[in-house]
């Protein structure tokens, strides 16, 4: 023992230890973190918000060209109104039906729970452009489409209202997020609180309402914010859906929401109508500002909002807790899940089964689109990890708690900002600096920006869930911070890193809005999908619904496999912890 102790003082003198010594020095580590923060600000944050500066630099133009033009203002307010109206209504529906479903998943033990979870997540695998097409195929009016499979539309003729179609679309894009975040928070509330309530004499419903729900507010807030953000941000699906029900190429006189308007005007701008610039940026600015405002509002409201728990109705609530009532509730929930979310999400498969491509499939363009999508997604994810992991460590483990808090809030911004507006802003940021061309690079940078929060949030979550005792003990045993990270922290947060990476990757693959608003030339798969359903002026029908469907199928399968992988990995983590 004593000779070992004596030798301990020496330590190895090889080059690895010298390198470790250098990098462990506080100054070097500090500089490293500083660089990461700088990169975050210049690569992600600034480009995202750059367009806001236009409010000042271009105020004159905005005043004269936009504010003074009542027709333009009408278009803008209608679009924004549609965006926010749909977002609120959908979030409301998500809450109503998502809560009982989340409860069911968390509180009941049954075989096949994992299968149910995967099923609920499955719409996330479909690129949103595909969801737009599927939803309209199921619910909406599509002028001049042959071989249309029977769906809900057969019962009442189908809806051509933009509001309702967008609501139905966004149920498929947001419901899984709501259920997931509600379930995650509910899982953290110890069942013992409900048990304590019930043993005191409260029925299941009373216990849930007076005890669990009030403890649950942060979960409701998170879920609401996620859904609102997703609904406001969505472009590809919206454009696809609105195109299909209108039966023609969208222009500024069609019924549009905020992101579709950005898409349409950007298209015109690229085609040469440079006078649209002030209107385009003004809409983007408004979308960004209102989204940020909404985020703050929701956070504040949920803190103030009190779920009433003082009044009880013992006999009524007891009756609702047993027998028929819960079964009706579960039935309605699963009916909602099936008919409003699952079937519409995959309905394009029904179309594929009964038709064939109108033109020959252009395999070249098809493959290019896929490769481009995967390539951009992979590159963006890689940058996210490189930048995001150190940033997450800084937020969760940094010495300066306040800095960590500020960064944590800032990281959410690219997430809340609608991706179409983000893309526009980023495009302007770099082009203003004189960077021309490099469109693919710019699109990738935009994808980095809006996928960044996924990696950071997941890794921060993983770090915060990691018992500090492990690192503390490791360091007292002699491990330098790098050693502690490599040997202890990293292996234990691998699942979180992987989950974040997969979320980022899949989000990027399905993205339309940011891609279009940075550059009209980068034809990723989702962009191709939207093009394929634009109306062919000669036949007055969607150009090639079938090929669009093929693209959707390939993308969905890849994403689905990725989601399965993530479930598998995070389940292993829970077993080991």
């Amino acid at each position: 023992m004593n000779e070992a102790k004596a030798r301990m003082g020496l330590g190895g003198t090889d080059w690895r230890r010298s390198l470790l010594d250098v990098f462990s020095r506080r100054g070097v580590r500090g500089t490293g973190y500083g660089l990461v923060v700088v990169f975050f600000i210049f690569l992600v944050l600034l480009p995202t918000l750059f367009v806001l500066s236009y409010l000042f630099t271009g105020w004159n133009d905005i005043q004269t060209v936009v504010l003074a033009d009542p027709a333009k203002m009408d278009i803008i307010w209608n679009a924004i109104g549609l965006s926010f109206g749909v977002a609120f209504f959908v979030t409301f529906l998500d809450l109503i039906f998502g809560l009982p479903l989340a409860w069911f998943i968390v509180r009941r033990n049954f075989r096949g729970k994992s299968l149910l979870n995967t099923i609920i997540d499955s719409p996330l695998a479909v690129p949103t452009a595909g969801l737009g097409i599927s939803v309209v195929l199921f619910w909406g009016v599509i002028p001049n489409l042959a071989n249309r499979p029977a769906g809900a539309w057969s019962l009442f003729g189908g809806t051509s209202s933009p509001f309702w179609i967008l609501v139905l679309l966004h149920l498929t894009t947001t419901f899984p997020y709501m259920v997931r975040s509600l379930a995650a928070i509910l899982d953290e509330i110890d069942l013992e609180y409900e048990t304590a309530a019930r043993i005191s004499g409260a029925s299941k419903l009373t216990a849930a309402r007076t005890i669990t729900l009030p403890m649950f507010r942060s979960g409701l807030a998170t879920g609401a914010i996620l859904c609102l953000a997703k609904a406001l941000s969505e472009t590809g699906g919206v454009m696809a859906a609105l195109t299909l029900i209108s039966g023609r190429v969208l222009d500024e006189n069609s019924a549009l929401n905020g992101t579709a308007l950005i898409g349409v005007w950007k298209g015109s701008y690229d085609a040469g109508t440079s006078a649209l610039l002030p209107a385009l940026t003004f809409v983007s600015v408004l979308m960004i500002l209102f989204s940020l405002l909404l985020l703050v509002l929701v956070k504040v409201l949920t803190l103030k909002f009190h779920i009433p728990w003082k009044k009880v109705w013992p006999s009524a609530e007891a009756r609702l807790s047993k027998g028929a009532a819960p079964r009706v509730r579960d039935g309605a929930t699963f009916f909602f899940l099936a008919i409003m979310v699952l079937v519409p999400s995959f309905f394009i498969a029904a179309y594929m089964a009964t038709s064939s491509p109108t033109q020959g499939v252009d395999w070249g363009m098809f493959t290019n689109g896929l490769l481009l999508s995967f390539g951009i997604a992979a590159a963006a994810t890689a940058v996210d990890l490189l930048l995001g992991i150190p940033l997450a460590v800084l937020i969760a483990r940094g010495k300066f708690k306040r800095l960590g808090g500020i960064l944590d809030t800032l990281v959410n911004i690219p997430y809340i900002v609608p991706s179409a507006a983000l893309g526009l802003s980023l495009g302007f940021f770099y082009r203003n600096m004189g960077i021309r061309g490099f469109d693919i690079l710019l699109v990738t940078l935009a994808h980095v920006a809006f996928t960044f929060p996924f990696v950071v949030r997941n890794v921060v979550g993983g770090l915060e869930g990691l018992d500090r005792g492990y690192e503390d003990t490791a360091r007292t045993l002699g491990a330098r911070p790098f050693q502690a990270f490599r040997k202890i922290i990293f292996p234990l947060i691998k699942p979180s890193i992987l989950a974040g990476a997969i979320m980022a990757f899949t989000r990027s693959i399905g993205e339309t809005g940011a891609t279009i608003s940075v550059s009209g030339n980068v034809q990723t798969a989702p962009v191709l999908i939207v093009n394929y359903i634009k109306q062919d002026p000669s036949t007055l029908r969607p150009r090639d619904l079938y090929t669009a469907g093929l693209l959707i199928a390939v993308l969905s399968i890849v994403t689905f496999v990725a989601i399965l992988l993530m479930r598998f990995v995070t389940r292993r983590r829970r077993k080991n912890a």
């Binding site: 013992e192 048990t195 304590a196 019930r198 043993i199 004499g201 299941k204 403890m215 009880v312």
Partner: protein, 365 residues
């Protein structure tokens, strides 16, 4: 009349894991029963089955003669105190205590009467407006007790109620608990892994291990006359010496221990040649300079001061390490001294040597 409780051959299985196996137990009206055992022995399982939080996989549970299997917890009249206290964090102390009458739909004056009474009983009425997070652990658990008492149930179940608290706080609350329960005349089931706690509060203790009942009886009976080796080791501490019965003479037996040391003890029920284990508690041994049977010679290895008593570690001639406790003012021996270890004959117990080996029988976890 307070409720009686009966468990008839109850078992609890989770897939391959058996938490409790074939347990039968009766608790009388007004009895304070402790269920004692190491972690994982099934004691909490029993508490949850009586309260309705879990349904037994097999067997029946009766409260007051009525079969309660399948009746959910909100319809059984049971008060429950949790190990993790589990006060509702968003409610004040008063709202926590008065939760039961409120959710049962009692009117406001009744809620106030019951809530105030319960808080008064645990001396926490003055803290009514505080939130749980502002209270110390012991204070929180008192409120937990008030919440359980406010159910006005005659049956109180306490699931490791003091385990989360400091040792010193536990000592104080033990007195409070027993006093309250006895003054109100409640039937109580108190689950714990702390044998000192069980002995001090209970009328009767049930000892459990690995899902089964080992033995039961009043604390002093179990302490002075444990029928099982496990009880002798788990309840309080004991010294154990392995040996063989060398011969029996009248009512005595002479046991040959290791290293050809002999000990003369009471011979009831012992036969020549029988493999046995001799057990005696540390406080029933005395150190002396002058020999007197029964005894073993030895040398003091270490001396530790424990406050009210002094603990000697003595290596005796059999090769065993024995613990001897002496009252602080009577302790006069030092490390390294040769001593005689005198056995108090009345408290020597002899057990047949267990088939699976002594170590296995004595395992504490």
């Amino acid at each position: 009349m307070m409720p009686t409780v009966e468990l008839r051959k109850v078992s609890m299985r989770f897939g391959k894991v058996t938490a409790a196996e074939d347990v039968s137990l009766t608790i009388k009206d007004g009895e304070y029963l402790a269920i004692l055992g190491p972690s994982g022995c099934g004691k909490t399982t029993l508490a949850k089955m009586v309260s309705g939080i879990w349904e037994p996989t097999e067997g029946d549970v009766y409260i007051d003669g009525r079969r309660v299997n399948g009746i959910p917890p909100e319809e059984r009249r049971v008060g429950y105190v949790f190990q993790n206290i589990v006060l509702f964090p968003h409610l004040t102390v008063w709202d926590n205590a008065a939760y039961s009458p409120r959710v049962k739909g009692l009117d406001r004056p009744q809620q106030e009467k019951i809530g105030n009474e319960a808080l008064e009983l645990v001396e926490m009425l003055k803290e009514s407006d505080k939130f749980p997070s502002e209270l110390s652990g012991g204070a929180q658990q008192k409120v937990g007790l008030a919440r359980a008492l406010a159910t006005r149930a005659g049956l109180l179940i306490l699931d490791e109620p003091l385990s989360a608290l400091d040792a010193r706080v536990r000592m104080e609350l033990r007195y409070t608990l027993r006093k309250l329960v006895k003054n109100l005349g409640l039937t109580a089931i108190h689950v714990t892994h702390d044998q000192e706690e069980a002995m001090s509060v209970a009328d009767r203790i049930v000892i459990m291990r690995k899902g089964k009942v080992v033995e039961d009886g009043p604390p002093s009976e179990l302490y002075h006359n444990p029928k099982q080796l496990f009880t002798a080791n788990f309840l309080g501490e004991s010294n154990f010496l392995e040996g063989v019965v060398d011969r029996t003479i009248d009512s005595w037996a002479v046991i040959e221990l290791r290293n050809e040391q002999f000990l003369r003890v009471r011979g009831d029920g012992l036969r020549r040649g029988q493999a046995v284990v001799v057990s005696i508690r540390p406080e029933h041994l005395t150190l002396a300079k002058v020999a007197a049977a029964p005894m073993l010679t030895g040398k003091v290895q270490d001396v530790h001061f424990a406050g009210a008593y002094v603990r000697y570690e003595v290596a005796v001639r059999t090769g065993d390490a024995m613990i001897v406790d002496a009252m602080a003012d009577e302790a006069r021996f030092n490390t390294g001294e040769d001593v005689i270890v005198l056995f108090d004959l009345e408290h020597v117990r002899v057990y047949p040597r267990p088939y699976a080996g002594l170590q296995e029988a004595l395992k504490l976890e």
